[in-house]
Symmetry: C2
Subunit: 211 residues, 2 copies
DNA sequence: TTACAATATGACTACAGAGTCACATGACTC
DNA sequence: GAGTCATGTGACTCTGTAGTCATATTGTAA
């Protein structure tokens, strides 16, 4: 957590620092990112930086907190009473919210994605791992509930399905972008529909579900 | 490409260098990896290193080449006459081969995965991007062919499905490991079956496919 | 005006990185 | 033995890094 001196700062100065940090961490992973550059770009002195933050990690974790808070604002509405809604509708709405977040907050997305990528990094374990466990529990509960209500095939594996849905939620962004997070196009709902359709029905031609 | 001096080296020395480089790039992404450490660990002098390789990137690309060649050895058998076999069988066998590779060559896997992860890195674009395009073309042809033979629903999107299958092939490893590439368990075929089942039939309870 | 605390500053330390270069060594030919 | 060429060497340069600290500035309260 940043120190009081940081939060006591006039808001424009504080924003300049956050702005500079976002830019730096957007372009570089934690180890690559340079506090020197952040200091330079935000126009504060080195000494001041260390009066605001314990170290580079302190600042970084603060940014991640901002990002998580922001993303939660998007996701939570889709999670109201998830056990009373149609399972596929809940999953759809969550992914839709995630895409909206990606569209609205591209730099947040980029920083978050960077963190998610390096699963071997100590920071990943420190910041992400446990939250991910919680997410998996939520997904598992959703799947289990939907099975009990007869919405899902009875022979599927709950944990496996939960993980698939989790991976879906992280990969859907890359599905919509040809791998460069810059050009998020407008056919998001189209791609989301295709994905939901695949999740529900698969792609094999069967007696029940022909063309 | 390494210089002739490298290939003229006595094989034990050459292997020591490759070994040291694999270790370093296994533990660190390209930018983090230290040539100094590779030099130290392989017991050669700094000057020699630069007589073998143009620079750090030269060595790295050589390793990637070894990795790609190794992976191809696993995958190609599954790709013999792909248009005459059952579509799901081909996909199954390819993924199975990929998992075998992951099991047999964990350090290759780790280095390769690291490279795949940082899609923003210049090296990703230099090394991966075009190969990925080619992979997508192969997958697309497979999907299209299977549709024409009536194996797949006629209403699916070829490009989308090809991308799903591509993502599947990269994500299946993480599905089998709870995110640490160390403990690849033995229930690989089980997970692969579940994944193939999902791809084919989805998870929704329908008239055609109950329980 | 004085006194004191909070904040600001940037030169500085200590370290690590990639890559260079003048020189040393060893092998092979004449 | 002399000459030549490929290869080996490590001290060195240059650049960048995170973090520190003695000193200066500012704000506030008496």
């Amino acid at each position: 957590m940043p120190k009081d001196t940081f939060f006591n700062l006039p808001s424009d100065k504080r924003e300049r620092i956050v702005e500079a940090a976002l830019s730096e961490f957007e372009e570089n992973a934690f180890d690559q990112a340079s506090t020197n550059k952040i200091i330079e770009q935000s126009g504060i002195s080195k000494g001041s930086f260390y009066q605001y933050f314990d170290d580079k990690k302190d600042l970084y974790k603060y940014l991640i907190q901002l990002i998580v808070e922001s993303k939660l604002k998007y996701i939570t509405p889709a999670m109201q009473n998830p056990f009373n809604h149609d399972f596929f509708e809940v999953i759809h709405d969550m992914n839709e919210a995630g895409l909206k977040f990606a569209l609205d907050q591209p730099r947040y997305l980029k920083i978050g994605t960077r963190l998610m990528q390096d699963k071997n990094h100590a920071l990943y374990k420190e910041i992400i791992a446990e939250n991910q466990e919680r997410a998996m529990e939520v997904y598992s509960a959703l799947v289990k509930n939907a099975m009990e209500r007869g919405e899902l095939r009875a022979d599927i594996d709950v944990g496996f399905t939960a993980r698939i849905i989790f991976i879906m939620s992280t990969e859907i962004v890359s599905l919509t972008t040809n791998n460069s997070y810059e050009n998020l196009t407008e056919n998001l709902t189209e791609i989301l529909d295709k994905l939901m359709n695949l999740l529900a029905y698969g792609i094999k031609k069967t007696e029940g579900k022909n063309d």
